[in-house]
């Protein structure tokens, strides 16, 4: 066989052999067999010396061609084998993806906090600040300064828990309003969320401890129309774009004029349903123009300045919003309840 024939023969034998290989080790053995230092191609090349100078370039070129072909075949066969091996490995690693995940569970925010934060966010967005004050309050801040002097019948409507004659558990967060006006004077725009207490026995709709959010705005030219404006904005943000509000006359000692505020039922949109007891309206807020006595008690001249105030019971909003029918659930802290929020 001529060298040329030997090279051709080498290529013809090597290529099918490589293509039929099934194991990477066998592939490596073929590489050694044909292209290794002691391989067949090397052996052929060693004979190059016996060729004439004229023959050498053509033969060298041919040898390189053969080497390239074989190398290419080795590489592509290697790739195929590696891909097959990986596929096999991945197949073996397949999981039942319907088994449960195992990250630590998230905790759940209490529904009262969820709604409180929502309300806080709405009002802070409207330029309100959040004020806080003591829960163990003096008679002065809880009653006196709010136009509820000793002997006033309104004291009966808020059965109060006392520590001493003048120290009590606040029955409303309104004391914070007075404290804030004392501190800030006649430019006030706050809401005060917090716990309040009344001597109400525990049942499905009563609790001796519950939460209020009150708001207060004082300034020059602040009116009942401004109150309506802010409450409309609030109601739409809180209960949905189409929510309407309704003012009804009422009486609170610390506001004059006073109003009870209903929002159109967010369950039925005002058509009447179980939630709104067929009324189409749900009573949510008490509100009004700050009583001149209250302003005067805070050294604010009621002939120059005016203000509005409003308040709502958080539990009521939460219960309506989530359809909770028993207030006790809010304070039992059962994880089966909490984890629903």
């Amino acid at each position: 066989m001529t060298m040329q024939e030997t090279l051709r023969d080498l290529q013809q034998r090597a290529l099918p052999e490589i293509q039929q290989t099934e194991h990477p080790e066998a592939l490596e053995a073929l590489r050694v067999k044909y292209l290794g230092k002691k391989g067949e191609l090397t052996a052929v090349l060693r004979q190059m010396g016996s060729l004439s100078a004229e023959e050498r370039p053509a033969m060298g070129q041919l040898a390189n061609q053969v080497r390239e072909e074989v190398e290419k075949a080795l590489q592509s066969a290697g790739e195929i084998l590696r891909a097959a091996a990986q596929e096999k490995k991945l197949a073996a690693e397949a999981l039942d993806v319907t088994l449960p995940g195992n990250a630590e569970g998230l905790g759940h925010m209490h529904p009262l906090t969820l709604v409180r934060r929502r309300i806080e966010d709405i009002f802070t967005g409207l330029g309100f600040q959040i004020a806080d004050g003591p829960e163990v309050e003096t008679d002065y801040y809880n009653f006196e300064a709010l136009n509820i002097p000793e002997g006033h019948p309104a004291r009966d409507t808020q059965d109060t828990l006392y520590f001493t004659d003048s120290l009590l558990l606040r029955t409303q967060t309104s004391g914070v309003q007075v404290r804030t006006m004392e501190k800030l004077g006649h430019d006030v725009r706050i809401i005060c969320p917090g716990r309040v207490y009344r001597s109400d026995a525990v049942d499905a709709t009563h609790s001796p401890m519950f939460h209020q959010i009150e708001g207060l705005v004082v300034g020059k030219g602040v009116s009942m129309a401004d109150l309506r404006g802010i409450l409309e904005l609030f109601a739409r943000e809180m209960f949905g774009e189409n929510t309407r509000i309704r003012f009804r006359p009422h009486h609170f000692p610390f506001t004059e004029p006073s109003a009870e505020v209903d929002v159109s039922c967010f369950a039925c949109g005002g058509k009447g349903c179980r939630l709104c007891k067929g009324e189409g309206w749900i009573e949510i807020l008490g509100a009004g123009v700050v009583h001149p006595h209250v302003l005067r008690a805070c050294n604010i001249d009621p002939d120059v300045y005016s203000g509005y105030a409003f308040g709502l019971g958080l539990e009521r909003v939460v219960m309506c919003r989530y359809g909770i029918d028993d207030m006790r659930l809010l304070f039992e802290n059962d994880v089966r309840f909490l984890s629903q929020f």
Binding site: G105, Q129, T164, G229, D334
Partner: protein, 792 residues
């Protein structure tokens, strides 16, 4: 306040249907809770004439009646009652009729005899003997009313009134009356209320012959008006009067008592009637009670009075608690022949205080405490005596005793329509304001508004604004967003920080709880606190709802344990709960407000151990950007496991206390599994929180790691080993992480091995092996020197 529309129509005509009436009244400030049409649930019940009655052949107690119900032939009705006789008029419920309570009557057979309906008792018609004193409760209601056969029973018994229930706010005691509601109705519907002036005929006998009145405390008794009635005949009131009382929810008793109640409902003025024979000396003295003076009230309760309380007394004894309740000693009896009518005005706060101190609240005291108008006593008294004469209940003596030292004057306020519009944010024209105020009884003259005398609640512009706007319509108040400029709203740093704490706890898998701020007084014992523990000092509520909610908590641990226990009792396998709750720590002086401190509390059972809780605490510090926290064991806290409790310190401040709740404490709360608890003071965390971060350049040179297993005494805390490694490692020691704890025979008794992975780095160059080895050797020497620890 229940209002009979039939009664009201005596004073005013609203000329509208009941639904519209209620809506309009609500929108003008007299809130309607609901209304009830009398007799609405009585259908097909008629007056029947018993034309024949015979015994049922197969029964010893049933009777078969033939009843004329206005149809062609009498109907047969079987009854079990024993008081029916031929010729009686009875209420007959016909086939297909309904009775109060949804009862339906159908034709049927009783022991084989057809019965085409039922004869009714008082009770079956929803009535009582107070409504019809001549009837009996236990039997058929034998009618004495004029009627014809087949006439609807509602017509016969005048069960055609509509009763509207108003919720009257405490500032409007004048509206707790027919006349007050008539005025509001008139103003709301643009009509006139006609309030007649009562007239009394009087007998010849002058009152002075019989009665003297002395008011010792005119500050507590603003006016005392009285009349005397002789030749009294106690009997039931006429039906129309009883019906009106009953419609308003007042039980008729006898003519005299009914008259006082009737006048109270009509005029809003509480009245009292004394039996003159029981007034010793024919005199009345309005005085303070003597300290500890005993007094038996109408309800037969003996009360011990105090000298702050006002009584109506005769020459010797108290006869009534002013404005609250009469005394048993001068009660109107069937034998009473002479009566003193009292129509007085007592100081509201004083009545309220007395009623509260005695634990009594009566219709009368509830009215007085709202502050009544003294001008109302005379018209009410005159009306009562007019009724006495109308009913033939007695002879009214000539003259009135009226002690009224300081007549009230009507309130006058400047009329400032601009200010009213400013407060309301409206543009209501002056003419409307004048009209609205006039319709409510205000008088406008020369720029001044004079409030009607009965309006004790009017003081200034704001009150006038309310009067105007409730007539104008609350729903017509426009909506504005004000012109008060830009405001800086938002949460302050502490509020944001608290939200961050809440969010961190939630991310760590804790559900948020809310618990009561007050607890039972024995909680300190359940926590096994020492006798002298400062947390035992807590604020006590003097009028608690129950013992369980009678003291303000000084620890949140009991609240948390109760929540966990609730979950364990409801078979929840595990619970992870947190709360930001307040504790209330009294000051030295009990009469000042306590320190209210917020604590972040976390607790769990069912899954996790001490180190799970420690990890949670560490994550919270991380969220607060707090570094350089040291932990140390707390072995003597009575509420915690002595070997599994620690506190975290930041400088000198304790920033966390946590560990396993002592099993004996957990057991007190019904928890028999390992329970873990942590509390962190919120304000303290806020104060010590880390500053906003400043970026540090990422390292340019690689770190060298070295793993060291250190053998030390069992008693040596890992924390001390770490501190020692840090101390000797210096600035080049970037990180030291414990990755294994090992105990074994080859280490020897009382020894343990702690394996740390150290990361060493120099910011300026790649650390050489020699440098790393040198530093490691230094750390090992330090460990040996300080802690007698060696390389394993």
């Amino acid at each position: 306040m229940k209002c009979s529309m039939e009664w009201l129509s005596e004073f005013v005509q609203a000329n509208t249907d009941i639904k519209n009436y209620c809506d309009r009244m609500t929108m003008t400030g007299s809130k309607v809770e609901g209304f009830e049409k009398q007799g609405e649930d009585i259908v097909r019940v008629v007056a029947g004439h018993v034309v024949a009655i015979e015994r049922h052949p197969d029964s010893d107690h049933l009777f078969i009646c033939q009843v004329d119900v206005g149809e062609e032939a009498p109907v047969q009705i079987v009854t079990g009652a024993q008081n029916v006789h031929q010729g009686d008029w009875v209420p007959a419920a016909l086939d297909g009729s309904t009775l109060p309570g949804g009862v339906k009557i159908k034709k049927g057979k009783l022991r084989g005899k057809e019965s085409c309906g039922m004869l009714c008792s008082l009770g079956e018609l929803g009535l009582t003997v107070h409504d019809y004193p001549y009837a009996i409760e236990d039997g058929i209601f034998i009618l004495q009313e004029p009627c014809t056969a087949g006439q609807d029973i509602r017509e016969v018994l005048h069960l055609n009134d509509t009763v509207v229930e108003f919720e009257i706010t405490p500032n409007r005691p004048d509206c707790l009356s027919m006349i007050g509601l008539a005025r509001e109705t008139a103003a709301s519907f643009g009509t006139q209320a006609l309030i007649p002036t009562p007239k009394v005929q009087e007998s010849e006998r002058p009152i002075e012959e019989l009665l003297q009145v002395k008011v010792e405390e005119s500050s507590l008794c603003l006016r005392y008006s009285a009349r005397v009635v002789t030749d009294v005949k106690i009997q039931p009131s006429p039906a129309w009067l009883r019906r009106r009382l009953a419609a308003c929810g007042v039980r008729p008793i006898n003519n005299l008592v009914d008259i006082t109640n009737y006048v109270m409902l009509e005029y809003g003025q509480p009245m009292h009637a004394f039996d003159y024979a029981c007034l010793s000396g024919g005199s009345i003295c309005v005085r303070r009670a003597r300290a500890d003076e005993p007094f038996v009230t109408l309800d037969s309760q003996t009360r011990k009075l105090e000298d702050s309380m006002l009584v109506i007394a005769d020459a010797e004894h108290a006869s009534a608690l002013a404005g609250i309740m009469g005394g048993e000693n001068s009660e109107i009896k069937d034998s009473t022949t002479t009566v003193v009518f009292e129509s007085a005005c007592f100081n509201g706060p004083a009545v309220r205080q007395t009623a509260r101190r005695l634990g009594m609240r009566t219709e009368s005291s509830a009215r007085f405490e709202k502050g009544l108008c003294p001008e109302n006593t005379m018209p009410a008294l005159e009306r009562a005596c007019q009724l006495v004469e109308m009913l033939g209940a007695g002879k009214v003596c000539k003259g009135v005793i009226d002690v009224y030292p300081a007549p009230v004057v009507p309130v006058q306020i400047p009329f400032r329509p601009a200010r009213i519009n400013e407060l309301l944010g409206t543009d209501i024209d002056e003419a409307f304001m004048k009209e609205a105020l006039t319709s409510l009884g205000f008088v406008l003259e020369n720029g001044t508004v004079t409030a009607p005398i009965w309006r004790t609640d009017i003081e200034g512009d704001a009150d006038l604004a309310e009067e105007v706007v409730r007539m104008y319509g609350y729903d017509r108040i426009p909506s504005s967003l004000g012109n008060t400029g830009v405001h800086q709203g938002g949460l302050n740093a502490l509020q944001l920080f608290e939200r961050k704490l809440e969010d961190t706890a939630l991310a760590l898998g804790f559900d948020q709880t809310l618990t009561y701020s007050f607890v039972a007084p024995g909680e300190a014992d359940l926590l096994c606190l020492a006798e002298n523990d400062p947390l035992r000092r807590c604020l006590r509520i003097i009028n608690p709802l129950s013992e369980d909610t009678s003291v303000m908590r000084t620890s949140v641990l009991p609240s948390m344990l109760r929540s966990l226990s609730h979950n364990a009792n409801h078979r929840n396998e595990a619970a992870r709960l947190f709360e930001i709750g307040k504790v209330y720590l009294p000051k030295e002086d009990w009469t000042v407000q306590p320190d209210e401190q917020k604590l972040l509390c976390l607790g769990f059972y069912g899954k996790g151990d001490f180190f799970a809780m420690k990890g949670v605490v560490e994550r919270i510090f991380e969220a607060c950007r707090m570094e350089k926290i040291t932990f140390c064991a707390v072995k003597d806290h009575p509420s915690f496991h002595p070997g599994r409790c620690a506190k975290a310190l930041c400088g000198d401040s304790t920033v966390a206390l946590f560990g396993q709740v002592h099993p004996r404490v957990a057991a007190q709360f019904g928890l028999d599994t390992e329970t873990y608890y942590a509390e962190l003071p919120v304000e303290e965390l806020f104060r010590l929180r880390g500053a906003e971060p400043v970026y540090t350049q990422l390292p340019k040179f690689p770190a060298v790691t070295r793993d060291l297993a250190i053998v030390c005494d069992e008693a040596t805390e890992a924390g001390s080993v770490l501190a020692c490694i840090r101390k000797y490692g210096g600035a080049a020691l970037e990180k030291a992480v414990l990755f294994d704890v090992y105990r074994g025979a080859q280490l020897g008794e009382g020894k343990k091995s702690l394996a740390y992975s150290l990361s060493l780095r120099n910011p300026d160059h790649t650390l050489t092996v020699e440098e790393a080895d040198k530093l490691t050797a230094k750390i090992l020497r330090g460990l040996s020197f300080d802690l007698n620890a060696t390389l394993r």
